[in-house]
């Protein structure tokens, strides 16, 4: 189908782009969510500001704070980054699970994060990593934790004149293992549930455990009850399974044609246990 007519700008610099967005333009990343919605006329922005082409937003670099991933990096750039594979493999592994190769070559991490689809993959990893989202407007820059950034279905801490400019993920210390496990809807590639786990073991005991869940309900979240149940334990299979049963505590599971709320909740518990077991097995 053909979208409503709209104006299109491809600014040459980030500051020019932010000016156009402050004037009411809608930022366009890789266009993997927004363009299909426009074609179906579910969305009808009047002015698109293409920030997906800005080289200023396309970088992956390390600092003392962590690894900085520019919002314009495609999912393919994230999954194939040697720096990320070596020092923060969870985010690379998660990117590899997104859609198909065509989508990963076009879609950007900033676009996906800003869109906040309840079944997107990145939110689970960003929650487990306790990542920081950098937001930028023509006037200022601010940082928000992933836990506070994702507010609800399609709802984030972004203000109208802001874009996601960067994601900062922590440098993983030795002995930290991570894993992303996903049950996908085969046609769309979206997660029916996706669980990211990050664990550290010291002296045979779990000294750090973070679990991020996506797809289960309207928003991604940290499964803090699961984390609390495992902290300090040896992380045996029985302990992991028992803890994973809390993955759905307090969650309002979604229901659609592909999975009822009950089935989704069941999957969430199973995939939580799998993600934690895989993460623990990588803590060597």
């Amino acid at each position: 189908m053909i979208p409503n007519s709209f104006e299109y700008s491809a600014p040459a610099s980030l500051s020019e782009a932010l000016g156009l967005i402050a004037a009411g333009g809608k930022p366009l990343g890789g266009g993997m969510s927004l363009i299909p919605m426009m074609k179906l006329r579910l969305a009808a922005p009047e002015h698109l500001v293409d920030i997906g082409r800005l080289t200023e937003l396309s970088y992956i670099r390390e600092s003392a704070e962590g690894i900085h991933i520019g919002a314009g990096c495609t999912h393919f750039a994230v999954e194939s980054s040697a720096l990320l594979m070596g020092k923060c493999p969870l985010i690379a592994e998660t990117a590899n699970y997104i859609g198909d190769i065509q989508v990963r070559n076009m879609g950007t991490i900033g676009g996906s994060v800003a869109h906040a689809d309840p079944a997107a993959d990145y939110p689970a990893a960003l929650q487990a990593l306790e990542a920081t989202i950098v937001l930028k407007s023509a006037k200022k820059e601010r940082k928000v934790s992933a836990a506070k950034f994702f507010i609800d279905t399609f709802t984030t801490a972004l203000k109208e004149d802001e874009i996601v400019s960067e994601i900062i993920v922590p440098l993983e210390a030795g002995l930290t293992g991570t894993s992303y496990q996903k049950f996908l809807q085969p046609a769309s590639g979206f997660a029916i549930v996706g669980v990211a786990a990050r664990a550290r073991r010291e002296g045979g005991k779990i000294s750090l455990i973070r679990v991020g869940v996506t797809g289960l309900s309207g928003n991604s979240f940290r499964a803090t009850k699961v984390e609390a149940a495992l902290l300090g334990s040896a992380g045996t299979d029985a302990e992991v399974t028992a803890a994973a049963a809390h993955a759905t505590d307090g969650a309002d599971a979604s229901s659609d044609l592909h999975a009822s709320a009950e089935y989704r909740a069941h999957l969430a518990r199973i995939y939580t246990a799998r993600a934690i077991s895989a993460a623990l097995s990588r803590t060597a």
Binding site: K26, L34, M37, L40, R41, L42, A43, A44, P45, H115, A116, D117, P118, A119, E141, R142, K143, V144, S145, K148, F149, I151, D152, T153, F154, T155, A157, Q185, S188, F190, S217, G218, D252, S254, S255, D256, L257, H258
Partner: protein
């Protein structure tokens, strides 16, 4: 699609009942409501502009409130259509007194069709839940005499 759930409101059941029956309050509580005009006994015409991130759509519909058992129970029937699809639903809302105020339980069935449903099936359930959450938030704000359109400043760790 089943639409069932419950929400706790920090106001007394009698007050919650009043709010839920007052078209002026409802028009400010329904997310995206442009107008709610009385067209008959307990019947209203609803104009809605749904806005959610970059999604948008206009709806024109009818809301009927019936089977009143004040102040605990009533039935709500909503029918509407727009360019992006149609919506038909009805359900019973039950108010009960709890320690924190009122529990509103809703139990209903909705049919959604058209483009919205065929391409957005995956998102219908989560979107409906979000709208219900927003509705009750805006309702309670009015119960406390606050402006329902003033969004709470979300706490963020600004640098």
């Amino acid at each position: 699609m089943k639409v069932t759930g419950a929400r706790e409101l920090p106001i007394k059941p009698e007050r919650a009942w009043e709010l839920l029956q007052d078209p002026a309050v409802l028009s400010k509580a329904i997310p995206g409501c442009q107008s709610l005009v009385r067209i008959g006994e307990n019947q209203y015409e609803l104009k809605l502009k749904m806005l959610l991130a970059s999604l948008s759509g206009d709806f024109l519909g009818k809301v009927t409130l019936t089977d009143h058992e004040a102040p605990t129970k009533f039935r709500m029937i909503v029918e509407g259509s727009g360019k992006i699809g149609f919506l038909k639903g009805e359900g019973v809302l039950t108010l009960s007194s709890i320690l924190q105020g009122t529990e509103v339980a809703y139990d209903g069935e909705a049919q959604i069709g058209g483009k919205m449903a065929s391409v957005g099936q995956r998102l219908v359930d989560t979107t409906a839940k979000l709208m219900i959450k927003r509705f009750f938030k805006k309702l309670v704000k009015q119960g406390f005499g606050q402006d329902p359109d003033v969004e709470d400043e979300e706490e963020t760790d600004d640098v």
